[in-house]
Amino acid sequence: MEQEWILSIIHLTSMAFLVTSFALLVSPQLFSCIRFYAIHSFFLAVITLSTAFYNHVYHLIISAVLTLVLKTIVIPQIFFRMIRRLGMRKEVETYINIPLSLLFSTLLVFISFYGVGNMKALDPPLSKEFVSISVSTLFLGMFMMTTRKKALTQVLGLLLIENGLFLMGVTTTFGMPLLVEIGIFFDVLVGAIIMGVFVFKIRGAFEGIDVDKLTMLKG
């Protein structure tokens, strides 16, 4: 009975996870984009926690807590500070408009759903929809990285990809050994900070973080 409840919670949060990736992709404001990233990571933490209880893999609780602290609190705060210091415009600038990107991302979810197939090779132990959900999160992150003009939103796309990979790792293999996992968390944190520094450098050199201007580097 209790297992069934946990399974329903997992279904619900995985749906919310997917919906939040869409929200992250189409929200027109930079602040709400970052807030959606925080919500996205929050759902990731909930999924990790329920996986831990559903399969009795209790070391995943540490991963869930780390996700909650780092990705829903620390990294968004870093971004908020960065925006404040850069004093940049609040609107997200994209190459294609919102309805079209909604359509494209729906198509990407379809592709990942049918492309993954029935996954006999992977045979994940938990409810198996997570492989297609994490692959579609990967796709959506890549899509976000290719269609955004600002460096900051591209970094958000990269973090979306990382969330998808983490979800895949947790649900198919119950996570890597804890030491590796902590290392990955550290990597993500340092990555976010380094990319922040990069963004500052780009602005210093080109007076803006519009990556179109990077083509001027070509000789």
Partner: protein
């Protein structure tokens, strides 16, 4: 068996009459909420019925260039809306014309009414009418796929296309387990309901400002009883959508025509559900500003994606469930 059928008939008739009577009250409730949020008193409940009665008694001013379309539109709109209303289960599991058609008929009956509304707005040749009907058609062509797809997502789980069957099916489900796909479908249908009933993020029912109006622009030429019929059917349409939302997503208290206690209990639960949904819609109306017309397709796109995700989520989870 004979008595059973007879009581079912009486009950379904009562449902339609309830929708007819309740529709202005729901609009009044949202108006009153809005007035309270702006520190106004707002109309009393009797006022909305008095308005309708007054309009029915008034004479009409009709353009001499108006053709038969202009004259028959209010009747077509009202009767089509009434037929659609009698297909929706309200407080018990059956409906008067539920045997007549499924949700596809339901959606396109409403579309037929809208088609005549747009035609009649073009008929008199005013510029406002043309503008209003072009806007209405643009938006409804975007809302329709979202509405149909969200209903299909629910029908896929219920394995039936009839509205009665949907309500009965979801009445018997454990509600927490199916939340993962009913929640996106609920979001999609809520957005469509707001768009279809001309509420604030899409259209503003309280203003006649030429830059923003959609529904009001189309009925600008109407007066008297015709206007009353149009307004009334608009309110009925809003209530139909709310009843659909209430009975599919919050199906508790839907009685099955057996036992007097259930029959007394279920209309009360129905009223509670409808007014809480109206409260949500009124709250959205208070909190949000009207969207620019060119941003409305984004909102309807969100509804469409939510409907797709609801269907796709069932396919993803359902493969192994």
């Amino acid at each position: 068996m004979e008595i059973m059928n007879y009581s079912r008939f009486i009950l379904s008739l009562a449902q339609v009459l309830l929708i007819l009577g309740l529709a202005p009250a729901v609009s009044w409730f949202i108006k009153k909420m809005k007035a309270a949020s702006q520190n106004r008193v707002g109309p009393t409940l009797l006022q909305v019925y008095a308005d309708l009665r007054k309009l029915f008694r008034k004479g009409m001013v009709i353009s001499e260039r108006a053709s038969w379309i202009f004259h028959c539109m209010p009747y077509v709109l009202f009767s089509v809306t009434l037929v659609a209303a009698s297909m929706v289960p309200v407080f018990f599991e059956g409906s008067l014309l539920g045997f007549m058609g499924d949700l596809i008929v339901f959606v396109y009956l409403l579309a037929l009414g809208k088609f005549f509304l747009a035609l009649a707005a073009l008929d008199t040749g005013t510029s406002f009418g043309g503008m209003g009907s072009s806007r209405e058609m643009t938006l409804s062509s975007l809302a329709e796929p979202a509405l149909l797809l969200a209903l299909f997502a629910l029908a896929y789980h219920a394995k039936t296309l009839s509205l009665e069957g949907l309500a009965a099916h979801f009445n018997r489900q454990a509600s927490f387990r199916i939340l993962f796909f009913t929640l996106p479908a609920l979001g999609a249908l809520l957005i469509v309901a707001i768009a279809e009933s001309g509420r604030i993020p899409v259209d503003n029912p309280a203003t006649h400002l030429e830059l923003t109006m959609i529904h009001e622009a189309m009925i600008l030429e109407y007066s008297g009883p015709y206007l009353a019929l149009i307004e009334w059917s608009h309110e009925i349409k809003q209530l139909i959508f709310l009843s659909l939302l209430a009975n599919v997503f919050f199906p508790w208290g839907l009685s099955n025509a057996e036992g007097i206690a259930g029959l007394l209990f279920s209309p009360a639960v129905y009223l509670l559900k409808i007014f809480s949904l109206a409260f949500v819609i009124g709250w959205i109306e208070i909190l949000s500003a009207k969207l620019r017309l060119f941003r409305v397709p984004d909102l309807l796109g969100v509804a469409y994606v939510l409907a797709v995700l609801s269907l796709l989520g069932q396919l993803m989870m359902g493969r192994w469930m």
